[in-house]
Symmetry: C7
Subunit: 276 residues, 7 copies
């Protein structure tokens, strides 16, 4: 029954195992060297390019890079080891195919999140405390994670936005902002007079309000409304002060027009009476 | 007829079977070791990182991780065993190709659900009882499942939302909320007076209402309406009290304006009569 | 001409055929065992987990599971048999490639339907007779099929909805519903008085109407309309009675306001006459 | 020059050709048997399940099934024959790759059409003469083809709709339909009186009109309009009579209100005159 | 240096070349036979099925079919020849992979165009001179090409529409069309009288106008407008005469109402004067 | 140490190198022949089919075709050479897989651009100076490139549109255009009189204005407006003169109606006064 | 135990290593040559085609091209080296499959960004300081990067737009712009007179305003408004002066009409009084 055991080439088997053992050690050594070199290369690249970045941000990016490199290396080593034992890794992969493909698709979003998050951090498109519009949502950035960015809406809502949903970023905290007020005057009022009155009010406000950086200037007749001639006023303000400045300009313009007897007209209608 | 039977190399066959048997045992041992190591690694990872998570939530996440790991391992083992018997697993996979691909696509949604569900739990983006907006639907979270999240709408409807439909999460139960009331005063009223009256009413309400955390403050002239000057009032409230507080502010402001004879204006129209 | 026939190794051929025959029998036995084990495993899994499910529903799910398992097994067996005869199944599959891929894509929707249908049944998201909103259509569920769900719209239309179109399910037949009525009062009326009158009417209705589970409560000033102050009333009703209750609340509120001489105001307009 | 011809192993070639010939015959026989079995299986399946289907519809479905089966079989046979002659079919397929892939994508729509068409016929979702809404188009079905469904719009237009565009089907010819009429009464009229008058008119119409199956019932106050209280009337009608019945109900209700001096109010406006 | 030349097995090489030459000839013959058979099969198929098709249309379709068949055959032959010379066509294809895949995707639209164009011609969904709506554009078909369909809009614009953009076709030139006119009468007028007057006008027009095929019929009260009761009139007209007929019906109805003193009402408003 | 060098089969190596060299020369010759044949075939195809095309356009198309052919050939040759040296090109391609796939996807748009651009030129759908609507943008074509088409909007903006974004082309510079003017007359005016007056004005304009090709014709009552009966006038004009002609028709019609005392009515309203 | 060591063929191993070493050197040399040739070819291509491009822009493009070429070459070399050591690179790639595919998809956006960015630079579609509309956002270009373009909105917001989001580019800084003003005159005013008055005002403005390049011209009656006849005025202005010029034209036209007593009409309404 067990005569066949003698037929096994035990010596050849030992030789095979020995060669495999030698190869395993070689692979391990090469792996450690490659890992060490890669890690140092990444660190050097970051230490050279971290101008203008905070220490924490630079650290985070470096950590991610090292991790991704290590995972990649480990996969290759596992592949080589499988190959060594004569196990066709392709066969296994194929066996894990349905699951693998499905997970691949499912996890695709995850990878997109990390890639986008990496660039959000690297290019400093957004910072904590910035007022931004991303993925159709307004708010103040509370936290930038690798997978998710947290945004605090002005109504208090906390938005969790997966980074892959962030394509265009509109950052409202990068430099001075524009305040813009449209005000209507009557078709019967003189445009020149009205513009002069408004400009005087603007100039007085500019001298009093230190949130205003430039202007406000009365730029002219923006539109003919159905019942009013619309005059536009624009100015540059300190960042995040644009809404407050707009409110102050509105108040100042209204009071200036009141003083000079220029009305902001209600909707008008011409009535023609016809007897039935 | 059966002379060919003698031609079969029965000894070689036995040797082959013996080697296969040895390999099968080796595979089983390696499988059990790998499973045990992987399981412990996952458990350790969770015991180290479960800060701030409830016991139940942590348990659920650990269970999923172990399951996924086990399924993956089993697939690899099945692959190796197939390979051992000289059955090309790729061939079988190819044979199952049409069905497999179809199921792969069909089940893709399922995997996406689980992956998203995993992160919803892990990052604690939503909790049961939270008031959230996800996938365009408002409501209170009733249950967070791996595949489906249940959301109770304010009209009583129960929404079953597959997790993959949940990308951005707007959680309205994370900290204080903002109450915002816009109120119009006549173009003929003095803005300063009106704002002073409104602020006094706000301050009295703030002292009486413990749901109000900050404010309410009259922030200024928000817009020029067609018949009214719009004044904006904002305040911070306890979570989920924002709607009730807004209603109380509206009532208080209306009563304050009534007392001081400041009207909330109806739409105005200037009529010019022309004879036909 | 036929001398070549002698050159054929008839004995070797017979040996080959014999080995194939033995293998075929072995495959058949393994197939039957695997099928039997799989079937029992599925049945046990269902008998253990059928809490809260109707007998019919559980039966349907079990049937589907067994069918899918059997088809999968059969494909693998066909693959092995092809392999046995030295026919490279990949070659055939490749030959059937254009058709196969096309059908694969075409039938993808079919698989998605079945997978979604499976979960609709398993998670009991919808039941026959439920009032739901799925795929943008309102109605009462008439039948839940594996491929298609039938929905009877309120206007009598029968909607056939492929299950893959059903992602989020809004089920309006899971617990009490909310009735919500907004009613406007004049800016000249006293808000306190009006709210008191409305609350009294609500309380009387609540005591008379057994479809009302909670409330109705007058929650306060919901908005400042252009000509009215909007008061909101909400209550909880028995399922599917929300529309009837809303209608009864509207009638009761209108009659209460009439009795106390509080008008529901028409649109107002202030007219200023200007001579041309 | 032609000495090499002697070097060719003519006998071996003949043996090869002979074996190929034998195999070819075997393949042909197996093909014919498989085709015959498959055809009969399909026919039996249809003869067993054709309950409720018209003869023509059943015939069409059977034809399609047999055709698809035959094409599939033929492709496999061609593959085996190619393989026999030592032509690697994969190579050819790869050579035809660019064209093949392109056609595959291009023809994908075609397959989707046929698959959807098959289920439209099988599940009897639509029948000729049915009034349906599919792919955003209203009309009467004129013809259901495998690739295209013809729909006659009410304005006379003939819509050709590829079956793949038909996902949800809204069939308006499956059972009784609902007629729904909203009618406004003045805020000054008594709701009870008006509802009683309307119900009397509804009851008289119901007794006269045999297209009405149930109702019409006055269900109550549906909404507070800006100038009217909206009362809703619903009833069940014979299929396709809903529009005619709605028109008759409208006429009857208007006449009933006229008789009892209850006006359907025009838009109202309260005018406040302010001197400029 | 050139001693190695003697080592080359020149005889074996010649034998190889001889076999290749024989095979090449065989391939050529098979190719020509296959091409000839395929061509005739296509021609027969068309000569059998060209009922109702114009000669030109049938010719075009036949030409396309033969072309596609020939290209397919040529690709297979090139593949076999490559294989013959020991050049792995897969390798080349792989080498051309990046370009190939890219072109494959890019040209996909082209194939879609031709496939759709083929069916547009085959199923006669559109003909030159037809008034159709395709891809959201209205107009008269000027030319149906394999890749592009030319549509002349009513404003004179020439639309070039790639056939793949044509999914649903709405053909307005297939049978009689419906003319539909809605006309409003006052709430004070008697509905019966008005409908009688309108029907008389319709009947007179029907007797005079030979573009009208059926009707016009006054179908009843279509809606309650804010100031008018809307009466609907419909009729069937000759194809493409629907717009002209609608205009004539409008004129006739207006004149009939004028004669009988029934007014088409202007918007109404009830004014309530309130002193400020 | 270097004894192993003797073990190398130097003669065999030389033979191998010799064969490779011969093959390389053969490949080069075949490549040059194939290139030359292909180039001439393309040139002939273009010289035969350039009817109606400008010299420049034909030259561009020919250049592109030759380029694409050459690149394709070169890729195949590189593949064969790699194969010759025993380097598995698939391995390299696989090695370049991640990059390759990514670029493949990224460059896909580029290929789509060129394919679409090719057909835009070939089918002459657009020419420089044409007024077209493509990709939702109006304007005059400034340049048709292989990748991008430049469009000058009427406001002066220069649109760069990637060709792949151009699917349907609406070309407004292909033949006469339609001018269409709708004008309202009072419900009190006689429709016949008004149409006669308008037609007379149209005829006079037609005789004076050489931009008008056909008409203008008064086609009848287009609609019942809320306060006016809308009469439609249409005519055919020279290409690009439609806007100018419409303006002239509007002026002429207005003046004609003025002369005959037919008013273009303002919005009407019937006022009913109700005492509060 | 270690007797097997003697069984290893040390000489053969040395020979193998020697051959590998020779091949490695050969690969290195070929790599350096190929890299050098490729680099020079790219440099030449750029030095020949840099007409009209800034030095910096040309340098950037050249750098990118060289980088891409180098990475591609390196990948191929790594592949060859792996192959040399008998490591099947496909196996490794397959092992890295799940990660690789996922990253491939994730990084796809990155490649799209770079490809689009490359063409944005190459075709000079946008320059820093240009006023453009891209991806639905208006603003002034601040920086064109390979991955991201920075756009400064007029309200001060800084938009970070990934280049792949930029498909159609609308560049408002390429040549003169059009200013367009519509102004309404009364139905009672003479159109000829009004147009003459407006043209005179336009001519005076043209002579005074050096931002105006062509016009302004009164082009005629653009539309019949509900209460006014709309006259259109257009002119060509210096780039970016269109808004300022439009404002000046509006002011000038209004003043001209005022001087000649031509009113810009308010909305008109004809009132018909009906007694209730």
């Amino acid at each position: 029954m067990f005569g066949w055991i003698e037929n096994i080439d035990w010596t050849g088997l030992l030789v095979d195992i020995g060669i495999i053992a030698i190869k395993l050690v070689a692979i391990l050594i090469i792996y450690l060297i490659a890992k060490s070199i890669g890690k140092r290369a990444i660190e050097k690249a970051f230490s050279r390019n971290n101008k203008g970045m905070t220490q924490a941000r630079s650290k985070t990016l470096q950590l991610i890079s090292v991790n991704i490199f290590t995972y990649f290396l480990m996969f290759i080593v596992i592949g080589i080891v499988f190959d060594l034992f004569g196990l066709d890794i392709k066969t296994l992969i194929a066996g894990a195919g349905i699951i693998g493909l499905a997970i691949g698709f499912g996890a695709q979003g995850l990878v997109s999140d990390v890639v986008t998050g990496f660039f959000l951090l690297l290019e400093q498109q957004i910072d904590v405390e910035d007022y931004v519009t991303v993925a159709g949502k307004d708010g103040i950035i509370e936290e930038i994670g690798l997978r998710t960015t947290k945004l605090r809406g002005f109504d208090g809502t906390l938005h969790y936005i997966p980074n892959r949903e962030i394509s265009s970023v509109s950052n409202h905290s990068r430099g001075n902002m524009q305040a813009l007020v449209d005000i209507g005057i009557s078709y019967d009022d003189n445009i020149d007079t009205a513009m002069r009155v408004l400009q005087v009010a603007c100039d007085r406000l500019a001298s009093e309000d230190e949130d205003i950086m430039e202007g406000p200037d009365v730029v002219g007749v923006q539109a003919f409304g159905s019942s009013d001639v619309v005059i536009r006023v624009v100015c540059k303000t300190k960042n995040m002060q644009q809404f407050a400045v707009e409110r102050r300009i509105r108040k100042a313009l209204k009071e200036a027009l009141d003083q000079h007897g220029i009305e902001i007209p209600y909707p008008h209608q011409v009535n023609i009476t016809k007897s039935n």
